[in-house]
Symmetry: C2
Subunit: 430 residues, 2 copies
Amino acid sequence: MYFSPEDRKSLVWGEKMNVELISVGTEFLIGKSINTNTFYLAERLASLGYQVNEQIVVGDEISQIQRVLKSSINRSDIVFVMGGLGAMKDDVTKKAVVEALGISLVENPVVKNQIKNRFKDKKSSEIPENIWRQALTPRGAVLLENKQDIIPGFIISALGKKIILLPGNPKQLKEMVDQKVMIYLKDWQPSIVCSEIVKIMAVTEQDVVEKLGSLMESENPKITTYSQIGEVHLRIIAKTNSKKEGKKLVTPILEEIKQCFGNLVYSTKEDETLESNVVSLLKKYNITVSTAESCTGGCLAGKLVNISGVSSVFGQGFITYSNKAKKKLIGVSKNTLKKHGAVSKQTAKEMAEGVSVTTGSDVGIGITGIAGPEGGTEEKPVGLVYIGCYVKEKAIAREYHFIGDRNDIRENSVMAALALLRTTILENYK
Amino acid sequence: MYFSPEDRKSLVWGEKMNVELISVGTEFLIGKSINTNTFYLAERLASLGYQVNEQIVVGDEISQIQRVLKSSINRSDIVFVMGGLGAMKDDVTKKAVVEALGISLVENPVVKNQIKNRFKDKKSSEIPENIWRQALTPRGAVLLENKQDIIPGFIISALGKKIILLPGNPKQLKEMVDQKVMIYLKDWQPSIVCSEIVKIMAVTEQDVVEKLGSLMESENPKITTYSQIGEVHLRIIAKTNSKKEGKKLVTPILEEIKQCFGNLVYSTKEDETLESNVVSLLKKYNITVSTAESCTGGCLAGKLVNISGVSSVFGQGFITYSNKAKKKLIGVSKNTLKKHGAVSKQTAKEMAEGVSVTTGSDVGIGITGIAGPEGGTEEKPVGLVYIGCYVKEKAIAREYHFIGDRNDIRENSVMAALALLRTTILENYK
């Protein structure tokens, strides 16, 4: 038992609701895996008004896990321990935690049955010992079922604190957090936390901060900006005594943001991305689209095709990286390329029109630009991108200047094209 | 001063060369940014035989930074502190560290000159105070110049340890580590560390571990696997007394791995990716390629186009998501689609041939598959993908079964297509 009577006295379930996140895994210490679990969980906790004090990564070693667990419990109310729950030899998290807390392991009939079902071709005696060990769960702990695997998670109440054990597999962790842990976290939070997300396309963090001005300094509700490629997400969080009161605090801010950014606000749904929003709009108005990409080389199409069920609105696209392809495949005129160059407003327009006419789609998008690092000139520098959009027999094109490396410029171009596509749909079909 | 005389006595530059990484930034604690710095640095340290004991993230608060710094210095020989070095109000890392170590700040003429050059349009008195503060550097520290910004990094020698301060911007950090810090790290390592990377395409971690068998258990040189999408990287690390001896240990292992995996070993260069390797090969043999993508929707082309200078070997591609596009754009026969279906070996072959003939390229690649979550049947389940390759008037196609979500299946398909393309080039042109 790692906590002395003095330790125990000072440990009480706090008012401040501080949280620490411990990731267990030598793979992180040697740079083998990137720690996405912490990133995901931290955002989920912030959305409920919890404050994460510290994030720690240690290797798969009992003494290390116990050392950091003890300090974390001393400092915080809720401690997450992620990873090392599996059946392998180096999965020692469960043992380390129960030993540190002085809790025994008991066989859990639910997990035992899951194991039997999973290995129903085998006799009980044929199932390896390390698999059976999964059925040993900390006495008194809440079991968090894992829908993708046998390995359960746990919520342990000890020393006036909550210790939450989660699997290290990111998909399993995400599902367990979303389906189970969030419910408990909402429940433990002494205030009612009202949280809304607002997603704004075609803006930078600086745009948002400048435009919203003093609104950004509001304490309750508090607004946090999450800068993404080509868009910004805002989270509005109010802490109150009732849901109704929370809504009353959040709604006017939400309305003010919507007013401020108009159609650039594309979603207030947690799960919706710009590409899924655009595909939904295309489906809603029954509009087909096709793409012609030069510097983005298929990445816009790739984003659209990542939305399941896109086939009714997007069926074909072209990568016209060379001038030959621009002329031959989508009919950009030789004259335009000669007079204005491949990276020009005119070419972008002709690409958009050409791809729409060639494929018979309602809308055509054309992207041409200089992604670098080579190919820039004083007149046409690296980062210059033109995006054309053709709809209802009219072609428009916009000029963009992106900064960063080749990949940054390409990713920004794709997001800008999605934003232009969304604007075009709303202007022409609503 | 945070270290007592007793503290100091126990602190000596160790033999074990343990390292800890402290990231400073409230943005990580609220899930606003993903911590890629730690991931990058951990791999670089592992490649030199250093052991990272712990990774910690704290907010932008002096007391927090000092608390974790003190524990880290007690446990380790080298402590990295990343982030919080800028000119903003919440950039407190430098202050926190020098205070904790009892070191004073002195004005550095090199940084002062950089500031003057950067703001040469302004008088000295017009440059804001917070910018001038960048010129204050810890007394006796080694200055690590930042080529992308004014903000320098530092190597501080104190208490028998090394404390290394690096900027939080990932691109600046990466450059500083690669160009400067690695040189010092090599120098401090008491053993000579010989390290080689081997990149193997079209294999899983399990394949590698099974095929290499007992070789994986070797202690010196040690082999670590880094599993990536569609490929595995192996790092061979030997610790010895001389470079020559290190090479003698590493070379036979490298040869054994090459023998074992033959042409699947595509690179032993740190910076080379599969796509850059394939583009180099295409250029070497002067081969042009074109692509026709269904389920990957342009992502293969997108990967190729991300290589600067690809235009001489890749000029055009098609996204043929619909059957109509497959027929109209690249001439897949109606009969094939009817008889075998869009997801079939035959269709993949005809896509590859069709795109090669249509564009006049030397090689054509066709990808068709079921990325899910919908569209799977018992006969053709989600994850079934066919990749066709047409070269020298001959079409071949391979069948793949990938697992995971829609995006996993698409990413794996792209990597498999690159692997097939590489194999085809080597078989037909070497």
